[in-house]
Symmetry: C2
Subunit: 278 residues, 2 copies
């Protein structure tokens, strides 16, 4: 593990943050999680672009030039010296005596944690995970990758307490996304995923999977679909930076199709893994 | 200013928190703001009761016995030695390597900041404030006083940028509450406020005002009302621990009634001030 705070690399994450950091008081900040394969951050440009969009939506200025982020990340990875790792990157609005109103002079603060990747157990990947359906009670702007993650945490914990891998949200009878993932289903050899809108995160792995599916000549539908459609799908998988392409074989207590990881899911996962080796 | 962290009083708020505190990473925690009049915390029991409810809703255990909170607060106030002050009290789930899923062994962390009160300028109080109406895009469980405050911050800042004192939320054409306040209107000598439900905070000053209005023999309606009803009200005020009873005389660009602070608002504020002197 290696950390970074406000321009310096540090060995410990303890006793760093001010009580008056607005990240601590209000969740007033944004983040990214970037996976590193063979020492190379995967789709880093896309992560930094999304970070910039999140910051802009919250009116937090970029703390560094884009190139500085690349340089700090490169330096961190050299110091960490692991081939496969995850970079957690967080920017908060900065610190000031507690007040909802923020001053325009406040300086944003960047923290990073570099850590060896934890791979999903092969057994789970081969068997597929189950998901719990939950009503989406989150705020309207989940396209911003913010630190306000309580509803996501609560749903994920309820899911894991019930032996599920992930919670999948629905709103007005349409699936939105998972607590920390996007969702895809396959029906009659065609791929479906919720279209981008303010209510879901524009996932980076989602971009990669759409590219992969396109290369596999799959018809792609970025369309709203119901929990019922999900339950009647031929295959399902979720995507995220750390789960990559994770097969889902059960929704609530119901098997999807024959309850086995499907052919398309496997092909998409394999093609995705090829992308990460480029 | 005096701070408290994890059982100890400290003079500085700098370099205290771990980067891996879940309050910092997820906004995974709750808070209270308690006002102290003449050295005595106002409605402290009600604040601690609400704190317990918020913790329970998030499945965070109480870090101390209730009596310990009273003792720490008493000790802090003695050290601060100000007659009128505000206590900011925050509890996070604790620290652990970042993961949405929390372990049951994680230990909650308490932080407090004691600071001399900032009074609202008499001039503003006599003139009344204006409010900006905003669609309520927050999550479904705003009865939990959590650290996930981004929508509140963004609305409040938009309001102050437009010269307003507060943003007032509406959802499905009904007023819910302010970004950091509850709202009351008076029409034909009767008092109206949004009923408690999962979408609003059960304000402590709200409790006090309902008691005061009852003592003044005002008919009280805890009923949903529309933005239009608010605009056509005779009087309006908002309540919060730090704003107390704050008159509102303008909604968006429209005066409420004659645009002056109303008689009932003044009487309720004066009766409230008497309560704080008990």
């Amino acid at each position: 593990m290696l950390a970074f705070y406000n321009g310096e690399f540090i060995e410990s994450t303890e006793k760093i943050i001010s009580i008056e950091d607005r990240g601590y008081l209000f969740g007033d900040g944004v983040y990214e999680v970037i996976r590193v394969y063979n020492g190379k951050p995967f789709m880093l440009k896309e992560h930094i672009d999304r970070l910039k969009n999140s910051l802009e939506a919250l009116r937090i200025p970029m703390p560094y030039q884009e190139q500085d982020f690349y340089n700090y990340i490169e330096e961190g990875l050299r110091k960490l010296n692991e081939s496969n790792s995850d970079i957690y990157l967080q920017i908060t609005r900065g610190k000031a005596p507690r007040n909802h109103v923020f001053s325009k002079d406040i300086e944003p603060i960047t923290a990073m944690i570099f850590r060896k990747s934890k791979e999903i157990a092969n057994e789970l990947r081969e068997k597929g995970g189950s998901v719990l359906l939950k009503e989406d009670e989150r705020w309207a702007n989940c396209y911003i990758k913010s630190l306000n993650l309580l509803p996501n945490i609560l749903a994920k914990n309820e899911a894991t307490d019930k032996g599920c891998y992930e919670a999948i949200f629905y709103k007005d009878n349409y699936i939105t996304e998972g607590s920390s993932s996007n969702i895809f289903v396959i029906k009659n050899n065609e791929l479906y995923t919720t279209p981008l809108h303010k209510g879901i995160l524009p996932g980076i792995t989602r971009i990669a999977v759409l590219e992969v599916a396109n290369n596999l000549n799959m018809p792609i539908h970025e369309d709203y679909f119901t929990p019922q459609f999900l339950k009647e799908a031929d295959e399902c998988f979720i995507t995220s930076t750390t789960s990559e392409v994770m097969p889902i074989t059960k929704v609530d207590d119901q098997q999807i199709s024959d309850g086995k990881v499907g052919m398309w899911t496997t092909r998409i996962y394999e093609s995705f893994k090829l992308l990460t080796k480029k």
